[in-house]
Symmetry: C3
């Protein structure tokens, strides 16, 4: 959902100064620099993207007074990231949930052969295709779409706008579409960056129990078709998981990271944010991936490195106490 506002009105609300922008320019959405078009507000929060900002097609760009954006339409503010957060709230207000007394909202479209158990709730305008099975205590928000033959086990929660492909299974008490973890520190308070994106799951995906997948900030968090997710995995906002991946139990992926096709993360793996793991890579159990990996990598450790290297280092470390003893005996 979004609404429109003029550049001038926005500048007043955010306490900023317009440059190179007609005051009556209408803005109707917030978008990242690379996606922003004429009607979109974007932002430059980090100098290293200044060149990109100078070539962006955004209708208006939030930037701090030091930024040099040439004659790009700019809204100069002290704290562009905080203004970006506020602008999301202004341009993308989240509607109230549209509950009624009926557990299935009258505007929901329930396909033929769908079974909705007692105690489940289905939100407004949600579309559930044929053959789906919705167990007791499942809660599906407004504006969701479920493809054919999905099965949601008890206690599963889909936040608004979650999209599932065909034949997706989600096990008990998993949560798709919760708000991502995004804050900006303003005067000693962590102010929330509104999370108004959604979760998009491909076909033939299976998701275990007590898994959490956050929705994107503005766009989707994506789980590719054929991917299988084990219990208690965490997928942060704007993560893109490719097709046919295996994410084993208790692994976690930080925000905006891209995981290629056929990647395996073994149990308890952690992956930092904003990196890419190339397709067909394998990350050994309990490892922490701290930088991008080329396709076909096989890494282990903390931080993760090529498996052979990790094994060598481990072997060397294990010989270390004996080595120290020997050196000491020689008086070194």
């Amino acid at each position: 959902m979004s609404q429109s506002i003029t550049a001038k009105a926005l500048a007043e609300m955010l306490g900023g100064a317009l440059r190179h922008c007609p005051p009556d320019r209408p803005l109707s959405e917030v978008r990242p620099l690379e996606e922003a078009q004429a009607g979109a507000l974007s932002f430059l929060a980090n100098k290293k993207y200044a060149a990109q900002a100078r070539e962006a097609k955004a209708g208006l760009i939030l930037a701090d007074p030091q930024a040099d954006l040439g004659d790009q339409p700019t809204l100069v503010v002290e704290n562009p990231y905080w203004c970006f957060a506020q602008a999301i709230g202004i341009l993308h207000p989240e509607p109230e949930p549209a509950w009624t007394e009926a557990p299935i909202h009258p505007s929901a479209q329930i396909g033929p052969g769908v079974r909705v158990a007692p105690g489940a709730t289905v939100g407004a305008r949600t579309v559930i295709a044929q053959g789906c099975v919705i167990h007791p205590g499942v809660h599906i928000g407004d504006d969701c779409v479920l493809g054919e033959d999905c099965e949601l086990f008890p206690g599963v929660v889909l936040y608004r706008r979650t999209k599932l492909g065909r034949n997706v299974s989600v096990h008990a008490n998993s949560v798709l579409g919760s708000d991502g973890y995004g804050y900006v520190l303003v005067d000693g308070h962590h102010r929330k960056v509104p999370q108004v994106g959604w979760v998009e799951v491909g076909d033939e995906v299976e998701i275990g129990a007590c898994v959490t997948v956050d929705r994107g900030v503005l766009g989707p968090t994506r789980i590719g078709s054929g991917t299988k997710i084990d219990n208690q995995v965490q997928v942060a906002h704007n993560v893109q998981v490719g097709e046919h991946c295996l994410l084993v139990s208790q692994s976690g992926i930080s925000g905006s990271t891209k995981i290629g096709r056929y990647v395996t993360l073994a149990g308890k793996v952690g992956v930092v944010g904003h990196i890419e793991i190339g397709e067909k890579s394998v990350v050994g159990g309990n490892s922490v991936v701290a930088k991008s990996l080329p396709p076909g990598s096989f890494v282990t450790g903390y931080p993760a490195r090529p498996h052979r290297e990790w094994m060598e280092v481990q072997a060397a470390v294990n010989r270390l106490p004996a080595l120290l003893k020997k050196l000491r005996a020689k008086g070194e």
Copy 2:
């Protein structure tokens, strides 16, 4: 649940060739090699079990063309593990859940003094013994059995056929009996190995909040009497946890591992699959147990080793920067 089929019909469905097996032999279940009897189909997916397969009592064994099983009744197929997965689906079809409009299924047996809160659901043929307390939003599947004086806190989910002993407490939003994580890669797709086992919990067990315990593939995942499980622990399919164990928060146990009696896993411990941890062992926090441990072990680290050894290695590692500096100063 299982149904019966002839060896010939099964061979046709799986596209395999029968050897040393009467075509009309009835098969009614899938079992591991060591448990399979005359009416059971079993499988050899790994050559190292070939000797075991040659002595198995199974009615029929899935094996690939290279396997040498002597005159054992064999169904020769290209991919025994994938055929095993398909055979589970054929011989152990999972029934649809038997919901009615009533939150408590009319065929459920609820003992005297049991309290079932509003919003809880109880499946078909489930038996709840006297004194149990079922909080709001608990969902108990079909064919479950609860011993006396169990307490299930809000949002707990028991999948079908879960068995709890006496005086078991399960805290909010924990899930027992969800499908284990089992797939076989076929033509680029991770095909599901149907999970048709169950979870069996002894007496006097307490399970924390947001815990997940998967059901076994064919048989039980077991939690022994007197064991206490902390929040957010993961127990994979076919794990056998002994009596009086302590599994501290965020630890995870991979599939088919056996944990002896009085074992303690401290917080965030990971245990790989298919190993045994001997009784009265203690695993220090955040360690990863990568191989079997004898009784009475006290291990720490990644990978876990005897605690003293780990401490020595850690001490040596901490002296390493100074050592390198010294060696460099000496021109080495």
Copy 3:
């Protein structure tokens, strides 16, 4: 909730001997040594607190026969910790949940403008201030208090006596107030230490999905105002988290630990129990904090140490295989 009993009756129930205590002294609660007043029972389970016990103001102190408490009123027992656990059960019996057929208990007080979705339940005497939004499938226990403008997403569970400040958001399937993990080994059985405390959350707190926060043993587990907690975080009993902290996904804090203001725990961090992390400290991802940290610390690793030191050690470890090769070449 608590009830009163005489010292003599308590001594008989626990099988102990009174010293320096009038037999008719009334005792109505269990308290730690430093908080206990005239009407309270306390305990000395560890000799190192004997000096503190000799100066305590408790009405009665559980101690073993070897303890020397001078003329303090003492109840001499073989196993003070186990008697302490039993005394909690005697003096602080937990009432049964007060469900009725109505999802909102008639004694609950629901403020103006509060929305309670279908399928949510609200316990006896619970007070929900104006503007709160309670999603479907939320279960709020007895005697809870919610400040203005809280939002509880589907499947959230608040155990009895949970207190939330103003403008607190809790995402789907999180659990506040579940029993802490406390047992005492008696004759080979892990006996439960009854958990009768509660959870107290300040203002402007946001809690992610599938988070667990246990209630204190006797008093509160506290989450300070302005703190933001990511998905799948675990907070154990009696933990005190300061104001404006960031606890990132899959981190876990063990019992009774104190976290100062503005502390950041990155993803998957573990913190042991009974320590203090000074304000404005930052703990790097996947680290394990094993001892107290002064304010402003920046630590990483396993166990966590100053970040620079950890980096040095890591760099040295990575050079180790080459060093060993070189030493071997030189015949050492």
